[in-house]
Symmetry: C2
């Protein structure tokens, strides 16, 4: 019996006590929102998880340089990643904050950028836009839009968590994803804020635990960005906290945002859960599941709605995990097409599997029959749109 | 000063002393050639290198089961991979050879298959077609066509090797590739035959050495098939051999066939050599170079002829090799776009790099500035055609 209850919030970040956010149009991205902020009335405990890419972008290096643990402000922009921009990239951020900090009374401001790599940050444009911020604004949608690149919809979610012993806190998140979604770390920008009175160490521990089964379990194209970041901000303003409830709610927020990112994978039409069970251990299950989400032959078969289970088997065999032909079992939802050495793939089964694949969301189950390891990875199809978007992105 | 001279052969396998080959139409692949053979008048020493995929196809398991070291016959077919077909898959091969062996006086016959995974081998159709073989035929092109799947052209090459001390031998190869070309092993079917009097151990040693820089250095889509095989057959009929000349000629044949496979990557329009230098060691150079050939974002940028060097940097950073932003150097042929911390990417450089990318073949140079490791991997672009071919392949 859970000692808490989750109620969805209609808005998200801006409905969490003490938090404000907004997006403005600086002209970086045509006349769409491209610069935004999250502001907290009181300094927050901050936890950040970053990409494993060796070329960390300037905002990440700026964060490390200033060893930020408490902050009341995140400045975000799209269209320019401020990556491969060397010492100048960090200096540009410091210059922007040299003006903004006294102007808005900021405390250890953080920057977060996404967009094209290898172009100097248009710092003057961003600074002028930021000087127009209304820190009292509560505009989730404008903030969510300001961080979008090739995303086709805003990714937001929030809950009010009611504790049985009385009291409540709120937790909400906004993310962007779309391209360069990867198999190794956060793979996008995600901002999660809460007014729970959560100790920093617990927030860090829970985030690190669930990042493995949420943001690290998704893949759009196997590429890993220089800018991937997950930020968690807690200002404690609700005065309430419960460890179990917080962990549950944070996982919900992370899982939901992660799935929205796959769903909005560049050109993707299908969200597919690859459940791998029966692996020698969880690590091998993860390896096989991630290999499936990254295989081009599997992804194009998803796009073609072709239940080509041979490609699934071949991908598992190539992934390096322990497996045997007479132990493997493959099913599209409940349609078993290969069962431990037996090919169950007549016209009727093929048609049934094809029907499953026509759905916008479905699961593929692969039981390796080698042990008790399991993992679920989330992937999407790859079609013409992905090629179109990525062949033409910069131009 | 080389002690030998290479002269290209006009035909290939069929011009090597004692070898015959042909392809016939069994009806597996519409009315195109789909079943073929290579036959040697005298038994050959055989070396085979196979895929690292754990689900090895039946022909590979058949080869292992019979521990074949000498043979005079390879039976090949396309359209059906005889993979994921369990014990029955091997039994089917044995049944075919039970009839063919006495009929043609075969010695340890070998089978090699490519095509769809997970469909029982149409053994009766293949057997009936094989019984019509004319073992005296010398028809390279029909054999080359009989192993093609989505390949758009035959892949063949051959040399006569003249030794300075007099005498000569010949070496020739035929391959198929196109889809499922992978980063870990032979990644295709390749058959190389020679009449050189080469000792088996030397042939094996040289093949294993050069597979790393040829077939293992190419990638079309990062997928690794259940059937990838490289066969080398030597019948010694020329009576001549020179270790240096043989190694040189074998590398030439393997390199040429490997590049033809990338060039004919499904839907590919560009053959790109990724030269990685300055890595901490050769292994890291290989890791970075292979990552570049497999990155979807890089491949789609190649397709779009977009010199988006940021994606190249990000891929190197994500590959896990030692690298630093202020040591990296990236050039499209001789157009340097990023030089150890300096972004050299004005309109003029961008236009020059774009011009390079419009060529059907070009090189991208990445110097990591960390050490002396180097490796060259060969990749291709990924465009709409790849998606089209792989979304519709089975249907």
């Amino acid at each position: 019996m859970a000692s808490f209850r989750l109620i969805p919030l209609e808005g998200t970040i801006a409905q969490v006590a003490g938090f404000h956010c907004d997006g403005v149009r600086a002209g970086l991205k045509g006349d769409d929102f491209d610069v935004g902020f999250i502001y907290s009335q009181t300094p927050c405990d901050v936890v950040a998880l970053f990409t494993t890419n060796k070329f960390q972008a300037a905002p990440l290096r700026h964060f490390h340089k200033h060893q930020i643990q408490k902050s009341n402000f995140i400045l975000a922009n799209s269209k320019n990643a401020n990556a491969m921009t060397g010492a100048q990239g960090v200096a540009d951020i410091e210059e922007i904050f040299a003006t903004l900090t006294p102007h808005f009374d900021l405390h250890n401001p953080i920057m977060s950028s996404t967009g094209v790599i290898g172009v100097p940050l248009p710092k003057e444009t961003i600074l002028q836009a930021a000087l127009q911020f209304d820190l009292k604004a509560r505009n989730d949608i404008h903030f969510a839009r300001s961080i979008m690149t090739t995303d086709t919809f805003e990714k937001r979610i929030g809950f009010e968590v009611h504790l049985k012993e009385g009291g409540s806190f709120r937790i909400a998140g906004v993310a962007k994803g779309a391209g360069m979604i990867d198999p190794a770390m956060a793979t996008m920008l995600a901002f999660i804020v809460t007014d729970a009175a959560v100790p920093r160490e617990i927030m860090e521990e829970v985030a690190k635990k669930y990042v493995e089964t949420t943001f690290n379990a998704i893949s759009v194209d196997g590429d890993r960005s220089t800018n991937d970041s997950l930020f968690l901000l807690a200002n404690g303003m609700s005065g309430h906290f419960d460890a179990e409830a917080f962990a549950f709610a944070l996982e919900k927020v992370m899982h939901h945002l992660a799935l929205l990112i796959v769903k909005d994978g560049e050109g993707a039409k299908k969200l597919v859960a690859f459940h791998v069970t029966g692996a020698r251990d969880d690590q091998e299950a993860k390896r096989a599941a991630k290999a499936l989400t990254n295989s081009l032959l599997v992804k194009t078969a998803l796009f073609g709605e072709d239940p080509n289970w041979g490609r699934i088997a071949a991908t598992i065999g190539a992934s390096g995990v322990a497996c045997k032909e007479d132990r493997l079992r493959i099913a599209f939802e409940d349609v078993v097409v290969y069962d431990r050495g037996k090919i169950l793939f007549d016209r009727q089964q093929e048609e049934a599997a094809h029907k499953v694949m026509q759905r916008p969301e479905f699961s593929i189950h692969c039981d390796l029959g080698m042990g008790r390891g399991s993992f679920t990875a989330y992937g999407c199809d790859l079609g013409y749109e992905y090629v179109k978007i990525n062949a033409e992105y910069r131009t």
